[in-house]
């Protein structure tokens, strides 16, 4: 592994203790899996969203899902860009090293950076249709998402948080982009599940992340893949996902309204 000169160095290699406890842990997980199958596949986990909590960023949002996914996102309004042309949205996605359940993600590693870049590209794909970039020619809008804990459906939560942060920063948008994740367990006739938790996602045969603009009823991004089954299953999964997004939308709108009220009531410093 190439030396990372900018960080303090630990040992060359280290393994999480769960590797050695693997034998005992797997039995437990099978039990858990059996219990989870009884879960209602269309049930949405509780969602907590709050906008306007960072003092240094122009807009910010924090989204927490019931399964434990915690995403913090900050957005900055239009800044001057060197290149001519329409405005550009620059997204960044970072995972905290302690976000994953298994080994600690090494921050400088190439694999990590690759995964982060892919996630950032997916985020941009989901957000671009929602932002009125035509109103900001020659400008740069920046969005930065930080995943503090991964409990499943991380990308979907990041999409919602990023849209909230952009709206909180005062950027003109057509609509909020709401993200929803689905997965299909490997059992042969299993149905798609909304907002999987982390163990379910790990064992899933197919995963899907949807981003929807609910008021316009337009899908801005569909990401994912796997062994899903016949095409009708995929269509059914899409419908399930759209339904999930519509149901989450009022919560996000409410959080934006509350943030605006809070901002108005505290005097500007």
């Amino acid at each position: 592994m190439p030396l990372d000169h900018r960080r303090l160095r630990g040992p060359e290699e280290s393994q999480p203790p769960t590797l050695w406890a693997a034998a005992a842990a797997e039995d437990e997980e099978d039990e858990e899996g059996a219990g989870a199958a009884a879960r209602d596949p269309c049930a949405l986990r509780p969602l907590f969203a709050r906008a306007g909590l960072l003092s240094q960023a122009q807009g910010s949002a924090y989204v927490e899902l019931g399964s434990g996914t915690k995403v913090l996102c900050a957005a900055w309004g239009p800044r001057e860009a060197a290149e001519p042309g329409p405005g550009r949205l620059i997204c960044e996605f970072r995972r905290a090293p302690f976000a994953g359940r298994g080994a600690r993600g090494r921050p400088g590693a190439a694999a990590e950076r690759e995964a982060e870049r892919e996630a950032a590209a997916a985020l941009r794909e989901a957000l671009e249709p929602a932002v009125r970039l035509g109103r900001y020619p020659r400008a740069r809008l920046a969005v930065s998402a930080l995943l503090l804990q991964d409990g499943g459906s991380a990308l979907a939560a990041a999409v919602s948080a990023a849209a909230l942060a952009l709206a909180d920063a005062g950027v003109e948008m057509y609509d909020l982009a709401v993200g929803c994740a689905l997965c299909r367990p490997p059992a042969p006739a299993a149905s798609w599940m909304l907002q999987p938790a982390e163990p379910e996602e790990r064992r899933a045969a197919a995963r899907l992340t949807l981003a929807l603009l609910p008021a316009l009823n337009q899908v801005s991004a569909v990401l994912g893949g796997g062994r899903g089954g016949p095409p009708e299953d995929w269509a059914q999964a899409l419908r399930l996902g759209l339904d999930g997004c519509h149901r989450q939308y009022p919560v996000l709108r409410q959080s934006l309204l509350r943030a605006a009220q809070r901002r108005r009531s505290t005097p500007p410093s």
Binding site: D4, R6, R7, L8, R9, G10, P11, E12, E13, S14, Q15, P16, P17, T18, W20, A21, A24, A25, L54, S55, Q56, A57, S60, G68, K70, L72, C73, A74, W76, E92, R94, A96, P97, F98, A99, G100, R101, A103, R104, P107, G108, A142, S144, A145, L146, L148, Q149, D150, G151, T266, P267, S269
Partner: protein, 468 residues
Amino acid sequence: MLCLGALCQVRHPTPCRNTLPAQPPAQAQPCRLCRPGRAGPAACGTAGPPGRAGTPGSAPAPRLGAGIERPRPPPPPRSPPGPPCAALTRTRRKAARAASASAAAGRDRGSDGSGGSAIARGSRGAPARRDSDAEAAAPPARCRWEPPAPPSGQGPAAPPPLWPPLPPVRPRRLPGGQAARGRHIRGGDGTAMAAAFKTVEPLEYYRRFLKENCRPDGRELGEFRTTTVNIGSITTADGSALVKLGNTTVICGIKAELAAPAVDSANKGYIVPNVELPSLCAERFRSGPPGEEAQAASQYIADVIENSQMIVKEDLCIANGKLAWVLYCDIICLDYDGNLLDASVFALLAALKNVQLPLVTINEETGLSEVNLKQKNPLIIRKHPVATSFAVFDDTLLIVDPTAEEEDLATGTVTIVTDEEGRLCSVHKPGGSPLTGAKLQDCITRAITRHKEVKKLIDKVIKSITPK
């Protein structure tokens, strides 16, 4: 009218410019100031008088050019144009004549290095006389040159105020301990003016608060911002803590892994701190590898752990030379509003207290390690270091817990780490304005007080989450 300066080319301290003769006289007359035969003709730098030129063996005595080496009197006033000048010249010439007459007396005065030139002495004595006469004659205000008055007042000279002076301010303490900035000035105009003043002259704006011994957000100089701690929120990490110092938010997550110890220290585990300043905490941080501030902070945290012996590395060793714990401490700043080091050390301490390590045994028969996830033990933390940061203003004032704006305006920072027995673990002063020993002692005293506050807070939080 003869001007002495032009004739004898003697370097008089006051070159009179106004009365140069149109043509040089036919016969160069000896300088009136010169006393031929007295001090030696060579003392006078005149090239004119023929009698002198032929004098053999006259060693080039120190010319009057050497007079420059002598401490010169302050330059007498320049002659201003107009009638007073003529009066001056006349008085000067009178004085010069008087000087040459009394040069005999002047000779004994003043010991100078170069061989007692009468002219030199005369010229030296004359200006003083001329000065006094000139003073008496000319209007003092115009011709007099004074050295600039020494700057009055202490410290650096304050720039002249650009804005009308604000009324003396005492920000009210609103409930919740938050005095909004600018609110103490009533009226819309006042707030706008204060905001404009703050943008144009931030240092001056700040100094006005410091004069009243308070800061724009209503705090005293020695008061910390509201500190909030939340422990154990990240369940994927082995230990976590979120600390908020006012607006500065720092989260620390600790992951414990197993590794083989290093060859040269076979009985030691590892603690690897890593401070990250992602782009979302402040606009000036870019995404990418850690910048200078993050690297410095990481190294500082490692030093604090080492100096305070918070966690002894030998405690992390499971089997000598074979297996040891590695504690990866990742400290991420979520919101940067100054005083990063204090918050990071606090978050690290709280997270370490929250860590539960599973029991690891090495099976002697197989040589493999067995991990028992059910049974968890907390870490052994020997010392509890707490950091207190100060910012130095104008080389004299010390304020505690600076915000980001205060850090930008400060001339220096000091960070002091103490442990629970009131002992000093580390003093970090990266350059900046110098501090006296007494001020440093004040800082240490304040740090010890802060330690007590922080310890109480951490104990309260830990007690609240331990299952009864």
